[in-house]
Symmetry: C2
Subunit: 493 residues, 2 copies
Amino acid sequence: MLRSDFTSGPIAGSTKVYRDGVPFRRVNLSNGDHFDLYDTSGPYTDADAVLDLNKGLSPRKDVVRDRGTQLQRARNGEVTGEMAFIAAREGASPDLVRDEVARGRAVIPANHNHPESEPMIIGKAFAVKVNANIGNSALTSSISEEVDKMVWATRWGADTIMDLSTGRDIHLTREWILRNSPVPVGTVPIYQALEKVNGDPTELTWECYRDTVIEQCEQGVDYMTVHAGVLLRHVPLAAKRVTGIVSRGGSIMAAWCLAHRQESFLYSHFAELCEILQRYDVTFSLGDGLRPGSIADANDAAQFAELRTLGELTKIAKSHGVQVMIEGPGHVPMHKIVENVRLEEELCDEVPFYTLGPLTTDIAPAYDHITSAIGAAMIAQAGTAMLCYVTPKEHLGLPNRKDVKDGVIAYKIAAHAADLAKGHPRAQERDDALSRARFEFRWLDQFALSLDPDTAREFHDETLPAEPAKTAHFCSMCGPKFCSMRITQDLLT
Amino acid sequence: MLRSDFTSGPIAGSTKVYRDGVPFRRVNLSNGDHFDLYDTSGPYTDADAVLDLNKGLSPRKDVVRDRGTQLQRARNGEVTGEMAFIAAREGASPDLVRDEVARGRAVIPANHNHPESEPMIIGKAFAVKVNANIGNSALTSSISEEVDKMVWATRWGADTIMDLSTGRDIHLTREWILRNSPVPVGTVPIYQALEKVNGDPTELTWECYRDTVIEQCEQGVDYMTVHAGVLLRHVPLAAKRVTGIVSRGGSIMAAWCLAHRQESFLYSHFAELCEILQRYDVTFSLGDGLRPGSIADANDAAQFAELRTLGELTKIAKSHGVQVMIEGPGHVPMHKIVENVRLEEELCDEVPFYTLGPLTTDIAPAYDHITSAIGAAMIAQAGTAMLCYVTPKEHLGLPNRKDVKDGVIAYKIAAHAADLAKGHPRAQERDDALSRARFEFRWLDQFALSLDPDTAREFHDETLPAEPAKTAHFCSMCGPKFCSMRITQDLLT
């Protein structure tokens, strides 16, 4: 039995609404207006929802299982139910959604066997998305804790979840996450495969890996990280690095290749893998097993050699009708960020780029949500479609609930800053609505429109807890006489 | 009497050293090496220092009071004591320091009457600097609390402090901050002037302002924000903005101009002001009274009209031998950031740019240290010399001690990320040293080399508190079997 002490109910100042079945977070403003926001939180923020983690969420009813992938259907000119849903959610035209998917510039991770998930799209023509990694390790956490982190992360805006569990009960943990997740779920199947061979990378086989992938496809995993670009000949390129290979999957495959003096089974069996993923419409997330783990190693020969291989594999995946995105770094100083996007677009046919940060410096462990939010905003501005969050615990330990929220909020900031810079049609409306509320001293509206109404209010309450302060024309920062907005209002009105 | 419960003693894993009288934070590594870091914390992190807030710090002995400003002396070809100190601190040549000051591209804020401060430089050829705002408001805080924030902010790397007090005891608060501050102190004199006329902007006079400036020069303030660029004709340009005028000084001067239908006394008496500041070598920080307070208002006519006026004033200040820097925004979306730097350089003769963030989105109150660290890193990469921090409390209340630290660390990250991107000679050495420690599982070295060793260790301790874990070849994030670095080390060594 899962514990049932997860957080539910509406975000403060908002209610859940459905417009033609598509969910939004509706902020109800004190001036009578309302403002609808993209909402990733599923039924958990619906005051009327009946929630039972041990039963899972209700499945969508209109899942089409027998006509291939979203990519194949888009190529055939079809606007699927998922595409229509996404168009309404994004405020984009259904044709744009279909066309971007057909070109491979966007993906819709939606395993036929994960009908609990609400359709969403990852592509640079749409709002920048954020993924939150959860999952236990051998040293800490439980199934209930990880399911709770999933609910918590989506509450604050995670667009997808990756379950990176490597500890006990990998299958069961994933099962409960999938059955309760309103967003697509990604995994790295090599982790579970490694557990099956008791943690010795050299004991891995294609058969063991394949069976693990099928098991996870059957469960409903929506996208899978596959480190098929780490080739035998790439490994020596990483030997002189400051931090070697920092991807878990990358290091596992490098160990296998070196031990067997053989090409990676992920690479040699890639076409077979495509056939499996195609059957379920599982999206490839081609992993960057050789991503840089330090500023010193950014944009080096090992990293870009792998990216070239990922370009080859992209073409193969697409020829099988499988959706595909490419994972990117990692640790990259600011002046080397844009090159990553340009090369990915050039080598990988503009399929969606999905980057981990990047961290723009190595010197701030405990604050890597910030070192990396800087890089994430910049790489998203340059065209990255989804950002994998980094929490304050990165490099130090497994993130807890607080870390998950801190990571998600930092990345929603980065994603939104990029949407603004890219001129995404709806992005600035929210900034303007919040700033108008701020200028008009509608404090509660300001909180409600923010990414984290609870903390905004809590901070204001610290010095001015009384209710009248929520309409006062000043705060404790400047006091009444020095409030510039109050002075300006007196002047200009 | 000031309370004496401030934090002192060395940063964890470091000791204070002086090389030819110049202080450094020496990180003592477990492999016998050491690594010296730029150190803003003054005697407070010196284990041997005798500290008494009620007596103040010992003054430097070699302050030259009778030969004008650093700018004038640089123009005369002199390498001052301050310049030599700075050259050693920055790892730059003394000639470069002198030449940049002589050109006006760098400033050394060092009031003759603030000999407690250790010389530092602000200019784009040098490491990017960070300012921390402190100071009480009418609603909260005390002198002891603000002095404590000063010590605390410089401990974590604040290069200068601004005392923005607007509440009780403005003069006395500043006195205790100055006498105990190892870094330059900036102020906004109009705040105290306004207190003298009981908070009514229309009652301000040039004489009241001038006397306040002289009072603060005598005390030892190193740089002063002067909103002399807000002209009568600029005010209507701000009328249609989403957030009007958000600078306190800007709104005060706009109120004065409109009430009197007269040009700002700061502008009309600017030459007189130059003569006063020149006598003490106080640096102008020409304030951006019309900076944008929201994404909607960024880079608008009001903002750039003022910047043009600041360009005029820059030339006047320099002709009087007064050092000058220019303050910048504010709230700016990423794609509009670089234009700010280019225009400032063009209009203001490349004098140092000193920006508040900018925040790259308005939608995250309670996280504006992050929304703005993104903008700060980018604007510093483009050439901004000093970044004014923003704390999590921005827009919500007066920052407390925790907020001050969070703000400083976020901005040290932004500044360092920019130093890396600009190829500052010493910047990457630190990243490399930390990453090597990380790869070699020298956990304590990794913590000691970081911006915040206390929190890095605390986060690691959360899941693995035992001492042997500090040399273990894994952490709780991945556990022993899944540690990529452990696997790589086994592979490549």
